[in-house]
Subunit: 429 residues, 2 copies
Amino acid sequence: MERIRIGLIGAGTVGSGVLEILKKESAAYREKYGLDLILSSVSTRTPDKIKKELLNFPNCKLESDFHKIISDPEIDMVLELVGGTDVAYTIVSESLKNGKTVITANKALLSQRGEELFSLAREKGLEIGMEASVAGAIPVIRSIKTGLGSDSFLSLYGILNGTTNFILSKMELEHLDYSEALRIAQELGFAEKDPTFDVEGIDTAHKISILGSLAFSQKIPLQSVQIEGITKISRLDIQFAGELGYRIKLLGLVRKISDQLEARVQPVMIPVKHPFANIMNEMNAIYYQTAYAGPGMFVGKGAGSLPTASSVVSDILYYGARKNKGLAPEKNLFPPASVSEANGSLVRYYLRFTTVDLPGVLSEISKVLGDHGVSISSVRQNETEKEPVEVVVITHPATEENIKKSLKIIDGLSLIRHASVAIRLEDKL
Amino acid sequence: MERIRIGLIGAGTVGSGVLEILKKESAAYREKYGLDLILSSVSTRTPDKIKKELLNFPNCKLESDFHKIISDPEIDMVLELVGGTDVAYTIVSESLKNGKTVITANKALLSQRGEELFSLAREKGLEIGMEASVAGAIPVIRSIKTGLGSDSFLSLYGILNGTTNFILSKMELEHLDYSEALRIAQELGFAEKDPTFDVEGIDTAHKISILGSLAFSQKIPLQSVQIEGITKISRLDIQFAGELGYRIKLLGLVRKISDQLEARVQPVMIPVKHPFANIMNEMNAIYYQTAYAGPGMFVGKGAGSLPTASSVVSDILYYGARKNKGLAPEKNLFPPASVSEANGSLVRYYLRFTTVDLPGVLSEISKVLGDHGVSISSVRQNETEKEPVEVVVITHPATEENIKKSLKIIDGLSLIRHASVAIRLEDKL
């Protein structure tokens, strides 16, 4: 029986889930894996909350200072579950320097400082488990590293933020405006009081930079990800998308375009019959294309105490079993190479113009588009008695640059009432 | 650099895919994993087909007798890709006895003799890779063993047979009868000339017995799986399912019902808005519920040369890296415990009766159902001028036994024109 002595730092939502799973499953793990997981010490800012739970671990010390855990020679493995990037960086780097395997659920830390942390781990011959850092309960990181380890990725698309997926689902299913759906998400605990980090796509950007770096064996710095959130998506666009056979999703994506990588976070339209379009509410999913195995998809819960903790504990088991076995370091851990950006990809666009109802409106719009090499595939103008009129244009494949230039000119025309809307169609998922 | 010398036995669809991937990716594997995969020898019944491909492996021997490969002390790892259960059994068992890691894609062999083979492997301190044996390119086996290794499965549902999923999709999308859709599947190479193995659910049963054994840490013998194929599904039932908001899929399923396991292969109705219902044509998927991480789903290709080969090669890399590292054997490899069957589960049923259009038909049917404790949730009878009339009944939850008893009596009534149809509704996916 192999013993793994664990130090847990941070006992909030995820940490308390880890305590619950360890309590219930440790006996089963001894039998199934021959691994004896021993919780040696815990440090948390809110010790009162877990005092009762710790009664289930009679030999576990409650430390007020986390430094005691990361320097304790008895500890084999440190769980960094505090979040943030300052204290967390100290915990991970000092633990590695002291010879400990580290498990973390910290996407911000990995996205911003993963390269140096993995470089330090390699130097020390140690490993960092990070399954819980992206897409909570979905075993996507292990799958990229091992199950799909023989393959070569062409594209990776993620619905990685439960808050925004919940808001978009509510807007569609209950015909709500963005602000109404956000309010419901906040009431139900799916959105923070200040939702910026989620709704502006920053959380998704952290996650896609991590997954993309692993999948493409090429570091994708957060700064190289083009980010657009969902705050400008209107009920109208969601309705028109539905009529056109599409559904709007906030995607993080990384894909190869003639040997360059494109990395984005953006609301796009996906064909509604595609299984990826049916990932609703707070669920997460990752869809991929590869040279051999793909296309394929993983679906599951992106957050929550027990779902995320299940990934932390699967890392404890996996890296616990590998510890001190002289295994080669795992594939693709934030390699130092830097991303090359390719943002000139050609895609079809959905454009919506809010206009006065005058003869000649469409010809003015199409002239501007045509001047920029954007040709029109179809147009629909809802019949209405009242102004303004919504004109929806589906383009043939065009570059983002040409779409943006066209819209800048069109939005300056006197016949346009509001800023026009442009959303990419992901037809080729 | 660690060297893995590989013997390949069987160079048909999957084996030739392995050759192609090794040719293209071996250099990348050396760099990414520090593993040098060397194809040492190949044995195949059709050597002419691969002679050209073997030019890419100048030091590889072509053996006419596979026994030379399994007894060659130079070989570290044997790939058993011949299929069937006789020669394949010899290859796997003798290779293990000779100290070699084995990778196999053989679901029939594992389903029927996995227990003894894994017991032999344990005895020898060796491992058997089997990622390609179920759901081709989907890394579901690795995910059950490692990514979800901390979790406790409650249910596992699989769309695991591309042939039947293709036929059901065609029937729905092109409004075809079973026999017409089967003919198209045969023309396109998605179905064999003799499709029995697929359409009667036997292939799915092999696969679910393997996945279920792994997920539930309990051997599920093929004989304990209740099997029903798709040959009795009619275009009418597919149409009615659609009108009711469902889609018919052939599922393999294993689930816990109060500490017993239920194992089945059966066409069931799934709510059409569920992502699992949107797995169309030849695609495969696995949907699961667990104590902590679930629900979740994996989607991908279930067959094909390169997709299946990608899983074989991911096993080569994974087990190659683990070889001789003194790692504890992996979780859940066909444990000797045997399945307990639980088939008394309560589910809702779709029933279709083809009747004469007489007053009193419905009261006769509902009386028989009521006598067996089956209560009716809703009834629809299509308006028609002509006989026979199709009466569709959705029941409240009932046992399969009571449904079968009721139908036996109802089908004996003079007002019934054809054998009645009963399909389970999987509402709770």
